[in-house]
Amino acid sequence: MAALGEHTINYDARGLAEPLADIPRVSELDGETAVFDARDLTTRQINLELRWLLYEQGVKDVTVRNPGAKHSLGVGILTRCRITFEGSLGYFGCGLIDGPEIHVQGRVGWSACENMMSGVVVIDGNAGSLTGAAFRGGDLIVKGRVGARTGIDQKGGTIIVLGSAGLMNGFMMQRGRQIICGDVGNGLGDSMYDGTIYVGGKVRSLGVDCIPGEWTDADTEFVERKFRIHGLGATPELQKFVCGKRLYNYDNLEPSERKLVL
């Protein structure tokens, strides 16, 4: 199978890809910028290289060539910097980050920007499901379409999608905002506690306890500001959806539960 061996990944007995990789140190460094080709590197080597550049070499701007849709790239970066991926990322890309400005010039798979704390991520292509799961802060802009359950359990920050979105957008959302310019699928904002979802296209159906909200000047200001900052052009006509708070019955349940306990 020589023809298949070009980019073969080595696995250890546990089925893990090279758990003890060394830092490859293959980047071309130029002051505060660096470039490296990820084609022949494993996931772990790419992440080690990124950490080495950002934490030890004082680099502020990294370009990663040929990421090739590998999983878990650019995760856990906890410093202010700029990272450009010239291609697509696989699953769990740019998760657990705090600070970076990341530009993905392709698409991302499932669970991109999971638990992101701050910074900006711009994705030129489409994104998979669970984009921005447990999102805490910062801005995530997807210029294509997203899959199902975008911003599930979102606790802050802003997710902007220029295309359409799948089902159960903003499921169990607790805070923060989403702007979906295209159509959304069934169960929008299902079981959301708080936060706001703006939708430009058609809503196939609303989820449990998600209701249309009243548009205020603050909404106009917010949407225009975000579109201006990120250079996304004219703001589309949007509808607003918020939590109906009909499921806010914890206090009502409490006395009877207290009786049970006593």
Binding site: M1, A3, L4, H7, T8, I9, Y11, G15, A17, G68, A69, K70, H71, G87, S88, G90, Y91, G106, R107, G109, W110, G125, N126, G128, S129, G144, R145, G147, A148, R149, G166, L167, G185, N186
Partner: protein, 311 residues
Amino acid sequence: MCGIAGIIYRDGAQPHAIGTDMTRMLQSMKHRGPDSTGYALYGKPSNLVVMRYKLADANTPRDFEFSDRLQRNRAEVERRLASIGARVQEFEEETEYAFRVTLEYEGDLKELADYVEDVPDCEVLSLGNSLEIVKDLGDAETVCDGYRLDAFTGTHAIGHVRMATESDVDISGAHPYWAYPFPDVAVVHNGQLTNYFHWKRRLERSGHRFQSECDSEIIAVYLAEKMGEGATLEDAMRESLEELDGVFTYICVTKDALGVAKDEMAAKPLVLYEADDIVALASEEIAIRAIIDHEIDTYDPYEGEVMVWQR
């Protein structure tokens, strides 16, 4: 977890190296299922019937009588083929226990399959004019080497890497599943079906046989039954969204089409790449990248979608 992949070339009936393509795709998704790997490949259609069957497993205990039993069963299959009127054109011993036979046969294929499977330990893996199902334990490169699939050319293929959650790790439990008794139809599935026993009992009552305890086998037989009643592949797949419960993304292939269906909750991933000459789809984009070397644009189909491509 499992990983599925499919590829269909749409530039007429020209042969492509689909054996190598599918091996690359499946090998890049090895982390999704290291137990076993399976292929459903479509070679050049002919008037001959291709049958692949196995008489044991890689992990069948090699007891004292193993090789005697294997020889006896093998001879019995050949005897039965002759007695039912199938003239063997070519006989290949792929491994010690898996065989490929090309037949000249005009009779009923269900009758042929039933008669051959009546031999102890025998399972017909695939039967048809162009479909060939190859599945065994190990990763894609192991199976490809073992069955010399790098030389296989054809028009479309599906594949599966398995992480067993519901049933045994053996060839019977591995995908793809042939849609017994429907020739040239196969299915791979990623997910779990929750109304498995309901459908298994129902399909058994209408005369279908099940070779494994694996829930995915239901899909193949279910689609076969619907198509046997006259439904098109697309209609049968649409009905399955209503009638099968659980989470699933599955790919079904026939001799000239490839279709994919995704459940109502979009719980299992699928990445799709569509171009004029080729459609490739897989659980992870990394598998599509393994066969296409330039930058491509891909997307995830939404929940409840059914898509079918003709070759």
